[in-house]
């Protein structure tokens, strides 16, 4: 099996690879997080991914709250539309 070397330290043998970037890294460049090895770049990518998911989830919740919240307002607007139209029709043709 071919021996792999750290992407940041070409003279040092790699102890594993980053789960995100898939690049070989030595123990010094490796950070264990949630039981998995990450490189510095990998950790930054993970941070960006999680932030995007969090903001997406927040957006989804906000949109969902708006969608449900609009129901009573829309029902009132439907009622009001009928009312002004009936008043207009009867007023016009009276």
């Amino acid at each position: 099996m071919e021996k792999r070397y750290c992407v940041n330290h070409p003279d040092r043998p790699a102890s594993g690879e980053c789960v995100i970037t898939k690049r070989p890294i030595c123990p010094e460049c490796s950070t264990k997080y949630e039981g998995v090895n990450y490189s510095k770049e990998g950790l930054e990518q993970l941070k960006r991914q999680r932030a995007a998911v969090a903001s997406g989830g927040l957006r989804r919740k906000a949109v969902l709250a708006m969608a449900v919240g609009q129901a009573p307002v829309s029902l009132f607007l439907l009622y009001y539309f009928y009312l002004i139209n009936f008043r207009w029709l009867t007023g016009l043709l009276k």
């Binding site: 989804r60 949109v63 969902l64 969608a67 449900v68 609009q70 129901a71 307002v73 829309s74 029902l75 607007l77 439907l78 009622y79 009001y80 539309f81 009928y82 009312l83 009936f86 008043r87 029709l89 009867t90 016009l92 043709l93 009276k94």
Partner: protein
């Protein structure tokens, strides 16, 4: 019976409308009973309003409008059930259970009604609400996505296929106008020709009724029911056709296979 050769030569934009006619001619029994249950409370609310208008009880209009708004929501539930039945018949697939999706469908239809009725004040034109309302049930019963995402998909589809959407909407409006005109002409023939000449009846007493707001409201409501039922069916056909472009099935071939 839908003639595949005829539908193939038609502009594709109006094929769902033709398919809806074909479906109704052979399978009206699938759609009509549920739709009638749906519009029954709405018709009662309209009767109440027409009665109030003809008796000049204008103070009862707000009560009638509230009843009509609630009856509209009831109608949406049964329109969705009607569309679910048509969709099951058309695709042969079971689809998502209506009970689990009905709240989402009603929420989308409420939003669509705001766009349709007040759209010109909130940027989105009427056409978006029209298609959002029609396609809400077919899409939400067919896909697993969140209602918000599916509603967004419909709005994007309308933007992307604006040419087809405008053609369909225009065709429905033109048909509605022709129906209204036809009804007016029929009324004229009956009151000016048939009643005095053939039945020996004096129609002058009717003129007060025929020019009243209550009569006009009743006529518009009956025409609305006919066209709403038609659009309920046609929007399922439209969704099927949109899907067919993706999955490669032909709506007229499917209707022919169903014996329509």
């Amino acid at each position: 019976m839908v003639n595949p050769r005829k539908t193939a030569s038609q502009p594709p934009a109006l094929r769902p409308l033709d398919a809806a006619v074909g479906f109704l001619r052979s399978h009206a029994d699938i759609a009509l009973p549920l739709y009638i249950v749906g519009v029954a409370p709405m018709s009662l609310a309209m009767l109440f309003i027409i009665d109030a208008v003809s008796a000049a009880r204008y103070s009862a209009l707000s009560e009638g409008a509230a009843m009509l708004a609630l009856a509209t929501v009831w109608k949406w539930i049964f329109s969705a059930a009607t569309q679910a039945r048509i969709q099951r018949k058309l695709t042969g697939a079971q689809g998502a259970p209506l009970r689990g999706r009905i709240v989402a469908i009603v929420c989308v239809k409420l939003a669509a009604s705001v766009i349709m009725l007040w759209g010109s004040f909130i940027v989105l034109p009427f056409i978006y609400g029209f298609f959002l309302s029609g396609l809400a049930a077919p899409i939400l019963l067919d896909r697993d996505g969140a209602a918000v995402d599916e509603a967004e998909w419909i709005l994007k589809w309308v933007s992307g296929a604006m040419n087809q959407a405008v053609k369909i909407l225009s065709a429905i409006f033109v048909l509605f106008f022709i129906a209204e005109l036809g009804f007016g002409l029929l009324q004229l023939v009956v009151t000016r020709l048939i009643m005095p000449s053939f039945l020996g009846m004096d129609p002058t007493e009717l003129s007060l009724t025929l020019t009243s707001a209550a009569w006009n409201m009743a006529i518009i409501y009956i025409l609305f029911l006919i066209f709403d039922f038609y659009w309920t069916v046609a929007s399922v056909m439209l969704y099927y056709e949109i899907q067919s472009r993706r999955v490669g099935v032909d709506i007229s071939a499917r209707l022919a296979a169903m014996g329509g």
